[in-house]
């Protein structure tokens, strides 16, 4: 597609509920990233995929967070047993570069999913 598409745009979950957030990157983009942005702060890295391989998941805050990209295109970020501290905007970005900036392309971000846990 023309841009990075994320769904749903907004999600309200009851504490303890599982949620799944979807990211559809730009077609042909090798790299895919998930970021978490708390209110009033900059995005924080969660995880990175190169095609279908998850090469870095060091930013995932707990084992309740799980991400996958089984066919190297669409990715899903799953949060199990949501807690109030999980409330944030979850941003997905993709890049044509294998490594950010390698070819000078940089990131393209989606509009994000705003998750509110009540």
């Amino acid at each position: 597609g023309a841009g990075v598409s994320q769904s749903p745009r907004y999600k309200v979950a009851k504490r303890g509920q599982d949620v799944a957030l979807r990211c559809d990157p730009i077609s042909g983009h090798v790299s895919l990233f998930w970021y978490q942005q708390a209110l009033g702060q900059g995005p924080e890295f969660l995880t990175y995929f190169q095609n279908e391989a998850q090469l870095d998941k060091s930013g995932l805050p707990s084992d309740r967070f799980f991400a996958e990209r089984p066919e190297g295109s669409v990715s899903t970020l799953k949060i199990q047993r949501t807690q109030q501290e999980d409330s944030a905007v979850y941003l997905c970005a993709s890049s044509l570069d294998q490594f950010v900036g390698q070819g000078g392309y940089g990131y393209t971000f989606g509009s994000g999913t705003r998750l509110t846990v009540v």
Binding site: F33, G42, F45, D56, V100, Y107, F109, S111, G112, R114
Partner: protein, 109 residues
């Protein structure tokens, strides 16, 4: 990890004014990007600029990698420039882009 500091944290301008936003970082980086997050939350890539100077319309950016800082210049500001400007950096062959806390710009008509 890399530390990224942006200044000023907040900036209020009258329409038509010029401004300079600064990003300092703690390590030698190979990747640096400037983003604008509009009031609707969309992050727009403004510049990929690990070194040197680039210009795009009323915006320009300069990165002096050896001195570990980057500057974003906004000239003849418009109300649509309002939002938060983020600097993000990464080491070579590393995809863990670290964002600063941002500069919140408000341009008043």
């Amino acid at each position: 990890g890399i530390q990224v500091e942006q200044s000023p944290p907040d900036l209020i301008l009258q329409e038509g004014a010029n401004s300079t936003l600064r990003c300092n970082f703690s390590d030698s980086v190979n990747n640096l990007q400037w983003f604008h997050q509009n009031p609707w939350g969309q992050l727009i890539n403004l510049f990929y600029i690990p070194s040197g100077t680039k210009q795009n319309g009323r915006l320009s950016a300069t990165t002096v990698a050896t001195e570990r800082y980057s500057l974003l210049y906004i000239s003849s500001s418009q109300t649509t420039d309002s939002g938060v400007y983020f600097c993000a950096v990464a080491l070579a062959n590393n995809n863990d882009m670290r964002f600063g806390a941002g500069t919140r710009l408000t341009v008043k008509p």
